[in-house]
Point group: C2
């Protein structure tokens, strides 16, 4: 609370320095916030919500990094869903796992070549099932996210997905919702849900 | 996954029956979903997002009930922020505690006489700090939420806040943002943040 400026990112650095006291230095945090802002500002179409997206991404990055380095303990299993664009399959899988897990897992998703926005038909197919995806966005796959994961699920990601030894891997053969109409996307959603349900049973029981 | 209908609430009951297997019966879950739908449909101005709000409220209600009855263990301390309308102070306090806690607490907020929508200036004052409040809405104070709480923080709630023995209580003398311009709401936000910061230190250290 030492900042005297109205710059939201200075306040965000203050806030996260408080949240991660004893885990990260202020410099680490300022760097995470600057990186998040730089990544997101390039593609931001609605700058009004930029502070919210920057805060979310900086928090996720810091949490993944702290887990990857063993600086904070994991309270629940960490699942990472990866596809090429992080615009469809991996977003659906992550949102469904979050929806169904009652907080017993923590999920992340990423793309080996992320696009700039989530497939709007995917957003719609999840919304009608009570799942909110409007503040999600495609994210690049980072070493921290891979290292922090206990289970890594790839979907059509091919050779571009790096392999880290010591993790549990699954590769799911799921159809790509890109360019598909809503009735096809609903079938893909339900296919993914069946796989997520099986995975959660295995991970949690 | 036994439902054959496209009714989103039938599927939501399926999903939550999976999430809460061994904790709640299917009837308990169907009742929670019906209650959430009934409460929210009355005031819904944007029915497009109704399934998302119903899912969120049903999940929160089931979690609070399971914690209140001792059916599930609490993984982190539960904080409950209460004001009269759940439109300003308690929403800000809950969102700031969530923002600052790095997941080390779980927060709820409620109002003794909830209004139908959150003060938009409050939403704006949090948004500029990187905090999303767009899917929040005023909620009534329930016995489950009170019983599930470890710490109950009241703000201007007067005689209408019931007292449950065995909980830690705090009463905060915070100005009401209702009808105030953004610069006043920012001051109230920062006053609440200072109090939340102190509270989190006490609860977590």
């Amino acid at each position: 609370m030492t900042s005297t400026t109205d710059d939201p990112y200075a306040r965000l650095v203050d806030d996260l320095a408080y949240s991660y006291e004893g885990v990260f230095s202020r410099d680490d945090i300022a760097r995470a916030v600057a990186n998040a802002h730089q990544t997101l500002a390039v593609n931001a179409t609605v700058t009004h919500y930029l502070p919210v997206l920057v805060a979310k991404q900086a928090k996720e990055q810091l949490k993944a990094q702290a887990q990857a380095d063993g600086r904070i303990a994991k309270s629940v299993p960490e699942l990472l869903f990866v596809c090429v664009h992080n615009a469809g399959r991996s977003q659906m899988a992550a949102a469904l796992a979050e929806h169904l897990s009652a907080g017993h897992v923590h999920v992340r998703s990423a793309g080996s070549q992320p696009t700039t926005e989530i497939n709007p038909i995917v957003v719609e197919a999840l919304r009608e099932r009570g799942i909110e995806l409007t503040s999600a966005y495609p994210k690049p796959l980072t070493d921290s996210a891979l290292k922090a994961a206990d289970v890594i699920i790839t979907m059509g990601c091919g050779d571009s997905c790096p392999y880290f030894p010591g993790k549990r891997y699954e590769d799911w053969d799921v159809a790509d919702p890109a360019g598909q109409p809503i009735h096809v996307v609903r079938e893909i959603r339900d296919d993914i849900q069946a796989r997520v349900t099986t995975l959660l049973r295995e991970v949690l029981h």
